[in-house]
Amino acid sequence: MDVTSRFLLPAAAILLAGTIPAGAAWQPQKPIEFVATAGPGGGTDNLARAVQNIITKYKLTDQPIVVVNKGGGSGAEGYVYGKASAADPHKVIFGTSNAWQQPLVSKVAFNYTDLTPIAAMAQDEFLLWVKQDAPYKTVSDYLKAAAANEFKMGGAQSKDTDEVLTRMMEKVGHIKLTYIPFKSGAEAAVQLAGGHIDSHVNNPSESLGQWRGGTQRPLCVFSPKRLSQGPKVTATEGWSDVPTCVEQGLDISQYEQPRTVWLPGKVTPEQTTFYVELMKKVRATPEWKDYIEKTSQVDTFLTGAEFDSYIKQDLEHIKQVAAEQGWLVK
């Protein structure tokens, strides 16, 4: 693919360049590269490809779009690539909150300030999952059992969102958990089904199939209010039947995974505006609603100052947890 696209796409770009009216706001002049900071098949990759499909279907830009996966090093590969592409407005980086979290806890060669924030599109929720036949039916049962016997908590990656949430649970619930990092949430889900760990905090889409299949069930959702009513997942229950963790006495009212979109650093304000508007158009389509519903995410959209303050707030919080755990790097 890469070879042909390198050849053909610039040729197409030259043809198309003549059609852009002079004096209009900034428009991409070359094929656009969507960089997913995750491997094929993951949540970030799905978002990049969903956005690509919508833009192509509604011809929201004249330029062709290519999705490239750079998921090495828990996504660091993609961000480092974004940093190295400074001032190139034809590369769009799709990631999560690890754009600002990872540099705190690991010596990666980028920081989120090397990139230009476009938007946070959609938030993935976190739930506390246990094995289907586990004896505890409520969060307080779970906390009691965990206090008596140190539980094994599985999650994706180390010192990342899953482990941060685990440490928050320890503090709020006055328990001690052994955190076991796996490569992905899907792996943790299978380990829970096999009874090798006691719980995990997967996103809805990571454990949907397992819940339907009756190998594990959610105890609570880390969200201020219950999830919206979708179709029933099991015979009797749907997402809206899952209580919030606060309802259940575990006082973590909000924790979520924003899906973030960035440009490389040193781009012009006009170029930034173009992509913000582009993403707004994407959000307005029925395909976007469909994507949000299928992946059980929450449809939020933060951009500009709102996005900046969100990052600052989250950063302060993560810094505090990381400092308590001794994770911070210089």
């Binding site: 070879v3 499909n53 090495g72 690991s106 299978v190 199939g209 339907r212 299928k294």
Partner: protein, 517 residues
């Protein structure tokens, strides 16, 4: 048998004209991406994925899985003809396939590989058909200690044997582990061994390493030895294809053993790569002609190929029933399932019977289509060996450079690939074995993750590896394989102390040289 009925129903879905056409298209595209190194099955499938969004899920998965079969077959072609494995799982095929092709028997090598691969795939599908629910349960029994035990078994079956000095094997393994450690560590989340190069945070891609070690390394050796006779005068003969396939049943034991290893590793899920290495290692120990492995032995091709395809096929089962992909390609297909609105997991077999059994039936038909098409192409591919070295050598360099670049559009990968070429050359010149190095690069980090996860779970006690019958028997099997040669050697030395003192004759040395790959 309820499953049999479902399967017959599946055939009525799979064997329709549009689906057969899709299979042929898929297989042909698959062979193409398999033959071009650097593209490979996972990339090919993800390229095709967007085209399937408008299709029925059954049609879409038939197209994609046919492409997967084609790519698995195609990946063996470059391994055998040019010593460039396009997929991690076809590395072990180079060990005997390439010497045989260079010997002037490329037709036999290719036909043997395809025939045994088809057998492996067939066994894998039969397993899926009849044991689907049982297999899903087995896979669930695997936690981190069990995973580690499986990887340990794969290492053990390959280490401690072969022509190279044991200490050289250990050195090769250690270098491989070091390379596998580059990048972000899953368990601690910290960056390791990037040596100040920011981009190395992504780790070293297997394709980059292997294309350098094998493709460029072999080329450098060949240039030095002035391998003018590289234009091998291979006869292009349909009878030879036929004969090679007919001769396969003579190696019945090797076929069955390799298929069993492949299915086991596909389900557990150690994956096709570990399966092919393990199968090759075990064949080398137990085959009557094991001493000749590495010089173009038929069973040296049969063993890895059968196990690779048996594992590749049975790896689709954990994906469907549990949502764990057994290989990179399966991971991409799983992404596809979600986009088509299906959720991989235990309910798929209940909710989506048409889809699941249509897919399983298409595995039977698709593999038959694939092997028929691929056998037809043997003479064409074999003819490539006739091209003189002066023309083929630059082509190999171009293929390797383009392949390395296209992994993640990075120049660093091209530089690293050339660096690995030099390492491959040095290994060959100094009689260090490449196989343990590659094995460690491919599954070294997985083995490490599994070991450290186990240690976290047990709070540092090694007792976790003897905690239940499953993990205990795996570890004991691994230890036996590891220590057996040592024990035999000690017994041998004790019995005939004088023979040991004799220096190896010139004949032995030349044999060792041939066997080093």
């Amino acid at each position: 048998m309820e499953n049999l009925q479902e399967l017959l129903h599946g055939f009525t879905i799979a064997v329709t004209v549009p689906h057969l056409v899709l299979m042929v298209i898929g297989v042909l595209l698959g062979i193409l991406v398999g033959v071009l190194p650097g593209l490979g099955a996972p990339n090919g499938v993800s390229l095709l994925l967007p085209l399937t969004f408008g299709m029925q899920p059954v049609s879409a998965i038939i197209l994609l899985s046919s492409m997967y079969w084609g790519a698995l077959f195609g990946g063996s072609v470059t391994s055998i003809l040019f010593n460039i494995p396009g997929e991690p799982s076809s590395v072990a095929t180079t060990f005997d396939g390439y010497p045989m092709a260079r010997d002037g028997r490329p037709t036999t090598a290719l036909a043997t590989a395809f025939g045994s691969a088809a057998f492996g795939a067939l066994v894998g599908v039969i397993l899926i058909t009849f044991l689907a629910s049982w297999v899903a349960q087995v896979a669930l029994a695997f936690g981190p200690p069990e995973y580690f035990a499986v990887y340990f078994l794969a290492f053990a079956s390959f280490v401690g044997m072969g022509g190279a000095a044991p200490i050289k094997t250990v050195v090769a393994l250690a270098i491989g582990f070091a390379i596998a450690a580059i990048g972000i560590d899953t368990v601690s989340g910290s960056v390791r061994l990037t040596m100040g190069i920011d981009e190395l945070v992504k780790g070293v891609s297997f394709v980059v390493a292997v294309m350098g070690l094998f493709g460029i390394g072999e080329l450098l050796v060949a240039v030095e030895e002035e391998f003018h006779a590289r234009g091998v005068s291979s006869r292009i003969d349909w009878k030879e294809v036929f004969r090679a396939v007919v001769r396969l049943p003579r190696h019945g034991i090797a076929l069955l053993r390799s298929a069993a290893i492949g299915c086991w590793m596909g389900i557990t899920p150690g994956g096709p790569t570990a399966a092919s290495f393990m199968s090759y290692g075990i064949a080398r120990r137990f085959s009557r002609r094991g001493r000749h492995f590495g010089t173009g032995e038929v069973e040296g091709i049969i063993s890895p190929e059968t196990a690779d395809h048996a594992a590749g096929t049975s790896a689709l089962l954990p994906m469907l029933s549990l949502g764990i992909p057994g290989s990179a390609t399966a991971a991409v297909m799983m992404g596809g399932l979600m986009i088509w609105g299906l959720n991989p997991g235990p309910m798929l077999f209940v909710d989506q019977k048409d889809f699941v059994w249509g897919l399983i039936a298409s595995m039977y038909v698709g593999n038959i289509v694939a092997v028929a098409l691929v056998l037809l192409t043997v003479p064409i591919f074999a003819a490539l060996m006739r091209i003189p070295f002066v023309i083929i050598a630059p082509l190999i360099v171009i293929i390797c450079v383009v392949g390395a670049y296209s992994v993640s559009n990075s120049y660093l990968d091209v530089v690293m690939m050339l660096g690995f070429g030099v390492i491959g050359y040095l290994f060959k010149k100094m009689f260090y074995p490449l196989a343990p190095l590659v094995l460690a690069i491919v599954i070294g980090d997985k083995a490490e993750d599994a070991f450290r996860q186990s240690m976290l779970m047990s709070k540092g006690s090694l007792g976790v590896f003897f905690a239940n019958p499953l993990v205990t028997s795996l570890v004991l099997a691994g230890l036996t394989l590891l220590l057996l040669p040592l024990a035999l050697q000690i017994a041998h030395v004790l019995r005939k102390p004088r023979e040991k003192a004799l220096a190896p004759g010139p004949e032995d040395r030349s044999q060792q040289k041939l066997r080093i790959t």
